[in-house]
């Protein structure tokens, strides 16, 4: 696996991003990915029972065999807008399909931005020829810009993997900064605030692609939280167009494994970028729970700490408040005993089975931009890792004034 320093677009794909006037700021708000050959595709979606209209339509479209294009707008979530939401999404798909000459069935769609406001459909339709006209210019750069909302930087990663005699490329692009607590699952949809698009020129069977994506999402996006709020539009789409000309991956084995490893790397990198851009955050927090009775209990304990406002505000203050760590786990309802728990902050043990060891360096957490919290429950052999961030006045400012 070779991680590239530059973001490249896999063979056979083109992408573009423009401003069509959805955002009052005039920033880019309409992105397009196009595959010259039909691409097999996989997707995982939020488990929120409330679904954005664009998401519902995308899930239906994904049932078709192959995709040729993904149209994405930012600035409007196309969510909570009544029945017109679905028809607006379908009209955008039809307009794009007509413009680039592909079947409507082969166009996927995603939206992110303000909820409860009707999509400015005419503006989007006027933007479609414009964004198609930009495809020839190429790369993922403008596309990655066009899908952002409260994000402060573009999120993308590219890598190459050897499959047999050929080198294939996987590139991923993401947006997300708040309303981040993905609980992704197969086509069982949730308010779009995390969008991820992954493109690869590998030739791979659809079922293997879907399985690899579900596994990768579980090990990456499903392990991050900014604010414990699971969105109604979280969407991860993965398109594979086969343009690299590798011997198609049609069964599990070495090639499938190499592809999966690359995919996990892309998903982990993008999920870290989302945490690095978490709304208002000043610190990144890595929480590892080990010694749990089961994987589910480990995850539950890690999430309980990761989502505790008292813990997150203590981290903002650089306050080594292990008491809030242990208390959050105690409230999670899992197997644990205070007299068996160990807690480390950045490798210093601060709580050892009921005994307290004050931090040697009192300013450790104040100066650290990355805080690692290791918790050993000493109850079993299961572990889990979750990434979170501190809770700051800036987060409140962003979300109290947003509408």
């Amino acid at each position: 696996m070779k991680v590239l320093k530059k973001i490249i677009i896999p063979q056979g794909f083109k992408a573009a991003g423009i401003s069509c006037g959805i955002k009052r700021s005039g920033k880019k708000d309409l992105g397009l990915v196009y595959s010259q050959a039909p691409a097999v595709c996989a997707g995982v979606f939020t488990s929120n029972k409330v679904k954005a209209a664009s998401l519902k339509v995308c899930i239906e479209q994904l049932k078709n065999k192959e995709a040729r294009a993904v149209i994405v707008n930012s600035g409007n979530a196309n969510c909570f807008v009544g029945k017109r939401g679905v028809s607006d999404a379908k009209e955008i798909i039809a307009a794009l399909a007509g413009e680039i000459g592909v079947a409507k069935q082969s166009v996927l769609i995603a939206s992110t931005g303000i909820i409860g406001k009707p999509m400015p459909l005419e503006a989007v339709k006027r933007g479609i020829p414009k964004v198609c006209g930009e495809l020839s210019k190429g790369g993922l750069n403008n596309f990655a810009q066009a899908i952002l909302t409260t994000d402060t930087f573009k999120k993308a990663v590219s890598l190459k993997i050897k499959i047999g005699a050929k080198e294939i490329t996987i590139s991923g692009v993401a947006k997300g900064a708040g309303m981040i607590y993905p609980r992704l699952q197969k086509a069982s949809p949730k308010h779009a605030t995390m969008l991820v698009f992954i493109l690869t020129d590998a030739a791979i069977k659809k079922s293997l692609l879907q399985e690899a994506l579900e596994d990768s999402a579980d090990k990456s996006f499903n392990c991050i939280t900014v604010d414990a709020c699971t969105s109604t539009n979280d969407t991860v789409l993965l398109l594979a167009n086969g343009a690299a000309g590798n011997k198609p991956i049609i069964k599990k084995g070495k090639d499938c494994c190499a592809f999966s490893k690359g995919l996990i790397y892309v998903c982990e990198t993008l999920s870290q970028m989302i945490i690095d851009d978490a709304e208002g955050a000043t610190k990144k927090i890595e929480i590892v729970v080990q010694g749990a009775k089961s994987g589910a209990e480990a995850k539950s304990a890690a999430n309980a700490v990761a989502n505790s406002d008292l813990f997150k505000t203590a981290m903002f203050g650089g306050n080594p408040n292990w008491g809030r760590v242990v208390s959050a786990i105690g409230a999670a309802g899992i197997n644990m005993k205070e007299e068996k728990v160990e807690v480390c902050f950045n490798s210093q043990k601060v709580f050892n089975k009921g005994r307290i060891n004050p931090l040697r360096n009192k300013n450790l957490l104040i100066v650290s931009k990355v805080i690692k919290v290791n918790i050993d429950l000493n109850e079993g052999n299961s572990s889990s890792k979750v990434y979170s961030c501190d809770l700051t006045p800036e987060y409140i400012k962003i979300n109290a004034e947003y509408n």
Copy 2:
């Protein structure tokens, strides 16, 4: 039922509060309640698996038949201090029992304040004769002051009820402002941040007292949340000494019912005072979910909204973001459909089964100090009410700097 304008102490009880030097500020930090006659007592405690030492000892003491005194300190939680926590609590109990001449078995104890610091035992022991010496001065005022930590005001309520030919009194005192999400249950303990002491001169059987307390706690303290963090020391103690001389309440029926009604009023009033004093809050939020498929689903939906940081920051901004309400419910995993949900802010319907009605008065939520959110799921007949507050930069300041 007659709610009194003044806080009085029920017959046969005395109380006091002094400063013994636990708090560096010199504020009151040691409180005592004393009953001249043995009192039957009931208690409910946090469900957090991590328990403060004082709480563990109190639960054991409560198994004894009767109580004569409750000793409470603030400024130190006696939590996460290793084995000395339990022996410190026992030593305080023994010192008090010796000073006032009662059996050790009849003394209850509670602590609240900083966690992970050993109790300044000598200071407390020096304070015991002093606080006992103040008992003759009487009322609940100094006691109510002595149990506070980050609270900005004293919380107390008194009422009188006719039981047969006699009038009995119930008075309750509480502390609590942060780390508030009580999940109280019978002697199955949780980090002390909510403490409630209720005294009554009624004569009532212990089992009825316990049952009435569990029911009242469920309808009051278990319906409030400040920050979704369930403490390790939440404690509610209820003492009944029979000094009113009423015909003892020994079975369910009219008298028991009248007593329970009074008790619920006391618990509801104290729980509202806690929300009114929620750390950093500028708004009180009442969330009512109706039309749920079951009581558990109604409660789950109400808590999902009440504990959503995105919803709570929107309320701070006075932003009528019903999208965050519906999205939080969608993520709660209960039976609901976007096209059936109705949401009202302060009686104005803003979301009607998928259709949006903008607020007539855009500043409604900005000027309102109390925001009522009514949600009808239209799925069934169950309902639930939960009280919460907005999330503000001040909350973060309090909890980032606290240690």
